[in-house]
C-alpha cells in the first residue's frame, strides 16, 4: 500500500515524463519526506494531497531541484536530473509555481513574463539592446498572458493585481519558460470561487500539452480535475490511485478524519481551511 504503483498510471498514459524513485529528505533527525516514488505524464493532472507537514512542498522542492534529496533519484525527459541544479532543470522544461506568491511586483505583467521567457535565451552580453526591444520575449509574454486570461492587464504593474490575478500570473510566468511539466504548489490558495473556476479551466486545458503536478488543499477542486491522487502523511505515501478509489480508501479517511468518516471531499474541505500551508520548507522564503 505504502508503495505508490506507478504502473497503473503509465499504463493509462504513455511513458512518464517525470519520474521520481524512493525520494527522501531528512532535516536533522526528522524525515520530511521518506521513500516517495511518483510519476508525471503528459495529459495527466497528478494531485498530491495531505495534512499540514505531510512533506508536500518538500517533495515539490526536490522535484524542482531547489532541495537536494538525501535519497532517491529524479528522472526527467529521459535524463537523470537528480544532480542537476534548479536552473538547469528549469531550462530543460521543468517549471514550477510557488505556494507563496513570488512575482516581481514593481514590473508590468508583461515584463514579469518576458523576464521569465528570457531565461530560455538570455544573451546577457548584448547590453546595448533595450530589454523592451526583445520582440520574441514580448510575444511569448503576451501569448502566455492571454492563455492565463490576463491579456487585458499586460500593462499593469504586477503589485497592483488582485490575489487571484497574482496566482494566475504565477502560472503565466511558468508557461513563459515553455515547460513540459508543471509543478504547481497550491495554485488555488486563497482564491475566490469564481477565480478558482477559471484556474481549474486553465489547468484542464494545459494538461493536454503538459504533465502537471498539483499540490492542493481544496479537495473539491482536486477531485474535480485530478486524474490521479497521491495522499501523503508524515512524509510517506499512504495511497496513490484514481480519485474514485481514493475517496473510499479507509486508510486515507482515517488519516484525515479518524474513524466514522462520511465522505472525505466535503469533510476534508471543511476541515482544512483554504490556503492552510504546510509548515515544512517554505519555498520562496530565502534562508538568512
Amino acid at each position: 500500500m505504502a508503495d505508490a504503483s506507478p504502473t497503473a498510471s503509465t499504463a493509462a498514459t504513455g511513458t512518464p515524463l517525470l519520474s521520481a524513485r524512493g525520494l527522501g529528505r531528512r532535516f536533522g533527525g526528522l524525515a520530511a519526506v521518506d521513500d516517495v516514488s511518483i510519476d508525471l505524464a503528459v495529459g495527466q493532472i497528478h494531485a498530491v494531497i495531505g495534512t499540514n507537514g505531510a512533506g508536500k512542498s518538500t517533495l515539490v522542492n526536490m522535484l524542482s531541484g531547489e532541495l537536494a534529496p538525501s535519497a532517491g533519484s529524479v528522472h526527467f525527459a529521459g535524463h537523470d536530473v537528480t544532480r542537476w541544479p534548479q536552473p538547469r532543470r528549469a531550462r530543460a522544461g521543468l517549471g514550477r509555481s510557488y505556494q507563496r506568491t513570488t512575482l516581481f511586483p514593481e514590473f508590468s505583467l508583461a515584463e514579469n513574463c518576458r523576464l521569465a521567457a528570457q531565461a530560455g535565451a538570455p544573451r546577457p552580453w548584448r547590453f546595448w539592446e533595450r530589454a523592451s526591444a526583445d520582440r520574441a520575449g514580448l510575444a511569448t509574454a503576451l501569448r502566455v498572458l492571454a492563455e492565463a486570461g490576463l491579456a487585458a492587464d499586460a500593462e499593469r504593474v504586477a503589485g497592483t493585481l488582485s490575489h487571484g490575478g497574482k496566482r494566475q500570473l504565477e502560472i503565466a510566468m511558468c508557461l513563459a519558460t515553455a515547460p513540459q511539466a508543471l509543478l504547481l504548489d497550491e495554485p488555488l490558495a486563497g482564491m475566490g470561487a469564481e477565480e478558482t473556476g477559471r484556474m481549474l479551466a486553465l489547468l484542464t486545458t494545459l494538461k493536454a500539452t503538459h504533465a502537471i503536478l498539483l499540490v492542493e488543499h481544496d479537495m473539491d477542486a482536486v477531485f474535480k480535475v485530478a486524474d490521479r491522487v497521491t495522499v501523503m502523511v508524515n512524509g510517506q505515501v499512504i495511497a496513490s490511485d484514481v480519485p474514485e478509489r481514493i475517496r473510499t480508501d479507509r486508510a486515507v479517511q482515517i488519516a484525515y478524519l479518524g474513524d466514522e468518516a462520511p465522505t472525505l471531499a466535503a469533510g476534508a474541505a471543511a476541515l482544512l481551511p483554504e490556503g492552510a500551508g504546510p509548515a515544512l520548507g517554505r519555498p520562496g522564503g530565502r534562508p538568512r
Binding site: 532535516f27 536533522g28 534562508p287 538568512r288
Partner: protein, 290 residues
C-alpha cells in the same frame, strides 16, 4: 624555533584567541538571532576597557567587584541601547543596518573623546595578579595573562552551558536556526532579543575590561578588534558559539605565527585563512545545515 619557544608561542596564540572569542561570541549571537549586522560591536569592547579605566579608582583593589560592576553597567547599557536604537533595525534591510551602526561608531568615538579625551591611559593590574612566573629559560609570563585566559575559558564554558542547557539557551539556539519557529513557540521575541543583545554587549565589554590592564585604553581600540571579529564569525559560522571558539583559536594561531615567520605579510594571514574556509565551507565551519 626550538620546542620551548614553540610552546610559548602556542600559549600566546591561545591567549589571544580566547580574548577574541569573548568579543566575537557576542557578535555571532546578535547576528545569528536578530539577523542584525552590528558594526558598532567593537565600540562595546572599547566601552568595557574605558569602564575598567573609569571604575578602577572607585573600586581600587576590588578587582572582581570592578568586573562585576562593569559587566552589569554594560549589560544595562546594552539593554537600553537595544530598546532605544537596535529594536528599530530588525525591520530595516542590512544596508541600513550597516549605515546606522557605522554612524553609531562615529558617535561613540566622539563621545569617548569628549568624555575622556584622546590620551592613552593605563589600567592597574590587581596586586594579587601583578606577579609573573618564569617560563622555561626564556622569559617571564605574567600571572595576569594566565588569569585572562582562564577567565575567558570560564566564560566560554558558562556560555556553552547557558546555550545548551537552559531554556533561554534553547530559545537562543532555536532563534539562531529558525526565527519563525521561535515566534511559533509563543516566545516573547522582543524580550529574548533584548536579553541576547544585552548579553552580547556585556560579553564584549567584559573582554574589554579583561584586556584593559594588558592593552591600556586608547582611541580607536574598538575598530581594530571589530574586523578581526567579523573574520572569526565568518569562519566559525553565524550563530554558532562553538564555531566562534574554534575560529578564534585558529585566528589566534595564524596571527601569532604569521608575525614570527612572515612579519611583512602577517596582516594578510587571517584573511587568507578566511578565504580558504570560504572555498571549503562557505557557510562557516560550524553552521548547522538548515
Amino acid at each position: 624555533m626550538d620546542l620551548a619557544t614553540f610552546l610559548v608561542q602556542c600559549l600566546n596564540a591561545v591567549q589571544y584567541g580566547l580574548l577574541l572569542f569573548l568579543v566575537a561570541s557576542g557578535l555571532t549571537l546578535i547576528f545569528g538571532i536578530m539577523g542584525v549586522i552590528n558594526l558598532a560591536h567593537g565600540s562595546f569592547y572599547m566601552l568595557g576597557a574605558y569602564l575598567a579605566f573609569a571604575l578602577s579608582p572607585i573600586f581600587g583593589d576590588q578587582f572582581a567587584l570592578r568586573l562585576v560592576a562593569g559587566v552589569v553597567l554594560a549589560a544595562a547599557f546594552g539593554y537600553v541601547l537595544e530598546w532605544a536604537f537596535f529594536s528599530f533595525l530588525y525591520q530595516r534591510d542590512h544596508l541600513q543596518q550597516v549605515l546606522l551602526t557605522y554612524a553609531l561608531i562615529l558617535v561613540f568615538e566622539e563621545l569617548r573623546s569628549l568624555a575622556v579625551g584622546n590620551d592613552v591611559h593605563g589600567v592597574p593590574v590587581p596586586p594579587w595578579l601583578s606577579g609573573s612566573f618564569r617560563l622555561g629559560g626564556l622569559m617571564e609570563y605574567p600571572w595576569y595573562r594566565v588569569f585572562a585566559s582562564v577567565a575567558c575559558l570560564v566564560v566560554a564554558f558558562a556560555l556553552y552551558a547557558v546555550v545548551n542547557r537552559t531554556r533561554l539557551g534553547m530559545m537562543i539556539r532555536a532563534g539562531a536556526s529558525n526565527r519563525d519557529m521561535v515566534r511559533g513557540l509563543g516566545v516573547d521575541i522582543r524580550r529574548l532579543y533584548r536579553i541576547v543583545f544585552a548579553g552580547g554587549v556585556a560579553l564584549a565589554a567584559l573582554a574589554g575590561m579583561i584586556a584593559a590592564p594588558l592593552s591600556s585604553v586608547y582611541p580607536g581600540m574598538g575598530s581594530s578588534v571589530l574586523i578581526v571579529c567579523f573574520v572569526v564569525v565568518v569562519i566559525g559560522g553565524i550563530g554558532s558559539i562553538t564555531g566562534a571558539l574554534v575560529a578564534s583559536l585558529l585566528v589566534g594561531f595564524v596571527d601569532t605565527f604569521g608575525k614570527v615567520f612572515f612579519a611583512e605579510w602577517s596582516g594578510v594571514g587571517v584573511y587568507l585563512l578566511m578565504a580558504v574556509v570560504l572555498v571549503w565551507r562557505p557557510e562557516g565551519l560550524m553552521k548547522r545545515a538548515v
